[in-house]
Symmetry: none
Subunit: 252 residues, 2 copies
DNA sequence: CTACACCTTTACGCAGCGTTAAAGTCAACC
DNA sequence: GGTTGACTTTAACGCTGCGTAAAGGTGTAG
């Protein structure tokens, strides 16, 4: 069977330009050139093109493909088996990404909540690791994995309504805190109410309440820049005020 | 948390050049520029970059990503669903290519014949031309579709271990054949053992054994140049010898 | 004060083609 | 045998997503 550029292109699903380019760079030369200068490809070229496409599917550069295929020690069978393995790996990766997209869809429809980390699961990027280490691990080490992990777990699986409810609670806490700060007294009634609200809010994320952990968390709000920023946004010192209120609350 | 180019690059697993490029094309601008002209990125930019990488993994051009992320009426949900469809398509195509590799392996081992069209299955989005293969169709007509198709099906679904086991068997057959050929007698014990091994090997690919089909296949090994080549590689006449041995084996 | 690792802009290079442009070829139908 | 229309050719520039200098400024540790 003989093919002109377009016929081979249609057969293989690539453009005529690509075939001419392959000729140009010497990775796939036609079997012969006819009297009018047309490129004519034969059976061997078809097979070679198939090989090229296999490699290209693995995102190997044409340069390297050429080197590989011109290597006299090139073992077709071995190469094919390697292809199979690599393609199976690729499929696994793809499955991860598909799972990710599905989770993201669920998340965008409010059926699920994703942690930032989850959002990027499936992408080979090592990513946040370094960063996670700086803060995440530090805090984990200090306050224990269980507390943080359980919170994460619950946050991740929490239904949307819960999230909204928690959001309302968070607003209430903010309001109560703003009110309480005017008194300047963390043991005041409003301050203690804020601490109580904070406990309730926490219970959306923690599986079980524990005074010590609550007190530790309050300290974390002061120690960790990101948390502190959240509370101190409008009124500096709020994080510390909340910590004090919670510390009083937890020993009562 | 604030990041310079290199820090953010390390965080996200991309180059500083890429970050400058993203700034240049306006897809990701730093939160601010410090007094020395350094790019400083903040939390929002980190999130945005993660989004960008997410889209990029889905093989969307930066141009489109930019449009997507700048368009306030962009429907995330719709886009995600479209992405999912594309990814599922991609997986289907990948499965086709994997099946293609499996078939090509079978073909290179002489267990199967592929039409030119088949060789590119999975690479093309659409199958357009019916490009008839001289051999494939001929032999299908001659020996029946069922035999060949069933073999294909099984090859495609075959598990890894089976494949390796089959490979070992193929080696055994080769060895037995080489041994048997010395006797020159296809009815000799070693020749019959080779035929028996060949049957076992076949059973990796056929769903059920059938003496007639086995005998037909043996004849095919002689008739078809490509199969014959595989067996005659070292010792011409081996294909015929095997055929004779199998013919004797199948009437026993 | 000196390393040295960072940062900046400018600018050319590269793969793997897509895309004209200008011109020749082939088969079919009139 | 002439025209059409789908094919082919070479030559050349364009595009994306950066890599890779080059030439210089900055930050900080020793």
């Amino acid at each position: 069977m003989e093919y002109t550029v377009q016929k081979l292109g249609r057969l293989a699903g690539i453009s005529t330009r690509a075939l001419r380019y392959y000729d140009e760079i010497g990775i796939l030369k036609p079997a012969r050139i006819n009297s009018s200068g047309y490129r004519i490809y034969g059976v061997k070229e078809v097979d070679r093109l198939q090989q090229i496409l296999f490699y290209r599917e693995l995102e190997i550069s044409l340069e390297r493909i050429k080197a590989i295929m011109n290597d006299p020690s090139f073992d077709l069978n071995e190469a094919l088996k390697a292809h199979r393995e690599q393609l199976l790996d690729k499929r696994k990766q793809l499955d991860l990404i598909i799972a990710n997209v599905e989770k993201t869809i669920a998340s965008s429809e409010g059926r699920m909540i994703m942690s930032d980390k989850e959002k990027f699961e499936g992408f080979k990027q090592k990513m946040i690791e370094d960063n996670e280490n700086k803060y995440g691990n530090e805090i984990r080490g200090k306050y224990g994995n269980k507390t943080v992990d359980k919170a994460n777990e619950k946050v991740m699986n929490m239904a949307q309504e819960d999230h909204e409810e928690a959001g309302r609670l968070a607003e209430e806490i903010k309001a109560a805190l703003a009110e309480a700060r005017k008194t300047g007294d963390p043991s005041s009634e409003t301050a203690q109410k804020a601490a109580e609200l904070h406990k309730q809010w926490l219970m959306f994320y923690w599986s079980e309440y524990n005074k010590e952990a609550h007190a530790d968390l309050a300290q974390m709000y002061v120690d960790d820049e990101r948390f502190r920023k959240y509370y101190d946004e409008k009124h500096p010192g709020t994080a510390e005020f909340l910590r004090d209120a919670i510390h009083i609350y937890t020993v009562k």
